[in-house]
């Protein structure tokens, strides 16, 4: 019997009750990855031996009567910028092509303690910098719905792997939309938790004030299940907040009567593709029909979110990526005896980094440099405060805020690669949540006229994932937009 259509919850229940063996569940997914990955390029690395070994262990422990955990036997794929001890972590960069992680990220420790089975590492934009997955040193990921289309980025491999049912779950990281946008483009659920909800220990830092790890899934309940396993304070990450972790699964009551959903009409009116507009409006009607109240909210500084984001994230990236210098790990350029340490740094970085990463390091170095720091970095950080105040104000009138995830359906490979600025503009609806730290989820809400998936997002107040998940789950129960592409 195939288990490809089962949710993570169903798989867990089956494994825990002995109706399914973890080895069978994992084997079927490994077979599917082997058959589809040549077309999709969603995985940088698959480790069948490790996965099957751990699945055997789960089955053995279940037979022995032990508690096998809330994710027992559930296969999960991990974005290749998160450390899994003993596996390579490449961040889809040549500079880390042979880097073997010496320790587990906290999220991996927690997932494995919960019984999940890591099957491999997923392709992404290099160091999570990109919106199309075309910046990978190992080639682009293909969208399972149309292989001439991009899957979104930067967590494109994780989104494609879940959409193609290679895995029921995956982890991504979201710095400016890198979970939500590929989720929208691949027709799956993608959750960015509140900044500080999940430990970043073991996540390769891109922009430390924005980065957050979160799950991809095919149901909101599965995303809630993963968040419960990941969430909570961590002595290894001072920014992992010491706040109560509620029962996220218990919040999924299906009842959104009276919930106030804010719609920033002025912000979402311009430059949105017709298919996106149509599906978004239909989603609002669905939510209203379930008893939610739609209210207008105003986010006057949201129009500055893109410039603020690209000034802040590149500044932080230029600092974070200084560590890749050819000394302690990673690629080292060949040198002659006459070359010195500076040649080692500059040439290792020249050969090891791809074009987009260099562009962002250059931009970030510029905005932090003497004479430009106040005009760009400080100014952007002040507008970030104003954006935060916009959301604080909006959340006095609304419990969640709804908007499209991306202004367009997934675009064609190569369509935007020649013009970095046009690529950045595609992040218009996602970057605010990172700048302000808010939780956000992208939920499938339809298809374009030519059959490409479209999602919309719901944002919530800080640490109110429960409200966001409840609204998304209610929407998911009323609709049937999580579908499976023909592959």
């Amino acid at each position: 019997m195939s288990t490809l259509d089962l949710t993570a919850l169903d798989l867990r229940d089956g494994v825990a009750a002995g109706r399914l063996s973890a080895v069978d569940v994992v084997s079927e997914r490994l077979d599917r990855i082997a058959s589809l990955n040549p077309r999709l390029n969603a995985f940088n690395l698959v480790d069948p031996e490790r996965a099957l070994g751990r699945a055997k262990d789960i089955d053995r422990r279940r037979i022995a009567g032990e508690d096998v955990g809330p994710l027992a036997g559930v296969p999960i794929a991990i974005k290749d910028n998160i450390n899994v001890r003993g596996m390579r972590t490449t961040a889809s960069s040549k500079i880390l092509e042979r880097f073997v992680a010496p320790y587990d990220a906290t999220v991996i420790t927690r997932l494995e303690r919960a019984g999940a089975i890591v099957v491999g590492k997923t392709n992404c934009d290099e160091f999570a910098m990109g919106s199309s997955n075309e910046n990978s040193a190992f080639g682009p990921v293909r969208n399972p719905w149309a292989v001439d289309r991009i899957p979104g980025g930067s967590s494109g491999g994780s989104a494609a792997a879940v959409a193609a049912r290679c895995v029921p779950l995956a982890l991504g990281s979201d710095t400016g939309g890198s979970i939500r946008q590929p989720a929208s483009f691949c027709g799956v659920i993608g959750l960015k938790p509140t900044y500080g909800r999940v430990s970043r220990y073991g996540l390769l830092a891109f922009a430390s004030s924005l980065d957050q790890i979160g799950p991809f899934a095919r149901s909101v309940a599965d995303a809630a299940l993963v968040l419960s396993a990941l969430a909570g304070a961590d002595p290894c990450d001072a920014t992992a907040a010491d706040v109560d972790v509620p029962d996220f699964a218990g919040a999924l009551t299906g009842d959104i009567a009276g919930l106030r959903i804010g719609v920033p009409r002025a912000f979402v009116s311009a430059g949105v593709d017709e298919d996106v507009r149509r599906t978004f409006e239909a989603a609002l009607v669905t939510l209203r029909d379930q008893g939610a109240t739609l209210v207008d909210v105003d986010l006057p500084h949201a129009q500055y979110a893109i410039p603020v984001y690209y000034l802040v994230c590149t500044a932080e990236a230029s600092s974070n990526l200084a560590r890749y210098d050819g000394v302690k790990y990673g690629y080292r350029a060949p040198l002659s005896p006459r070359d010195d340490l500076r040649d080692l740094y500059t040439r290792s970085r020249r050969d090891g980094f791809g074009s987009e990463v260099k562009r962002r390091i250059m931009l970030g170095t510029y905005v932090l440099s003497a004479g430009y720091y106040d005009a760009f970095y400080i100014k952007a950080s002040q507008v970030r405060t104003l954006l935060r105040r916009d959301y604080d104000d909006a959340f006095t009138r609304a419990d969640v805020i709804a908007m499209p995830t991306s202004p367009t359906p997934p675009f064609r490979l190569g369509e935007k690669t020649g013009d970095p600025l046009q690529m950045y503009l595609a992040d218009v609806f996602t970057v605010s949540a990172n700048l302000v730290g808010l939780p956000g989820i992208s939920v499938p809400c339809g298809f374009s006229a030519d059959g490409l998936p479209i999602g919309f997002q719901l944002l919530g107040r800080m640490f109110e994932e429960s409200t966001v998940l409840r609204a998304a789950d209610a929407f998911g129960r009323a609709t049937n937009w999580v579908q499976s592409p023909t592959l």
Partner: protein, 106 residues
């Protein structure tokens, strides 16, 4: 969503070279020219933040989501020297050292 370029932030090759030196990046001549144009484009677009009145507004460098707890300042196990050197492109593993070329010109 399309941005029409009306502003132009001039960026010289010398500035690109200065930034590359600060970033410890060697760039090819083609890359210098490409980045000169692209960075000028992006900066011209980003200049729109200058139009926002931010007088008296504090900068947000970081969203402090909650009270962060400091851990006890107590020694605890960390990476072994062997593990720390395992990914080094060049190391003296017996001595426990990373190896780099000469630092001072000769």
């Amino acid at each position: 969503m399309h941005y029409d370029r009306t502003m132009s932030t001039a960026l010289t090759l010398a500035e690109v070279e200065r930034i590359a030196a600060l970033a410890q990046l060697a760039l090819s001549d083609d890359e210098k020219e490409l980045f000169r144009k692209q960075l000028a484009d992006i900066l011209a677009y980003a200049e729109q933040v200058q139009a926002v009145d931010t007088s008296g507004v504090p900068a947000t460098a970081h969203v402090h989501a909650a009270q962060y707890r400091e851990r006890d300042d107590a020694p605890r196990p960390s990476l072994s020297v062997e593990d720390a050197l395992a990914n080094a492109p060049d190391a003296d593993r017996d001595a426990g050292l990373f190896r780099v070329p000469r630092v001072i010109g000769g």
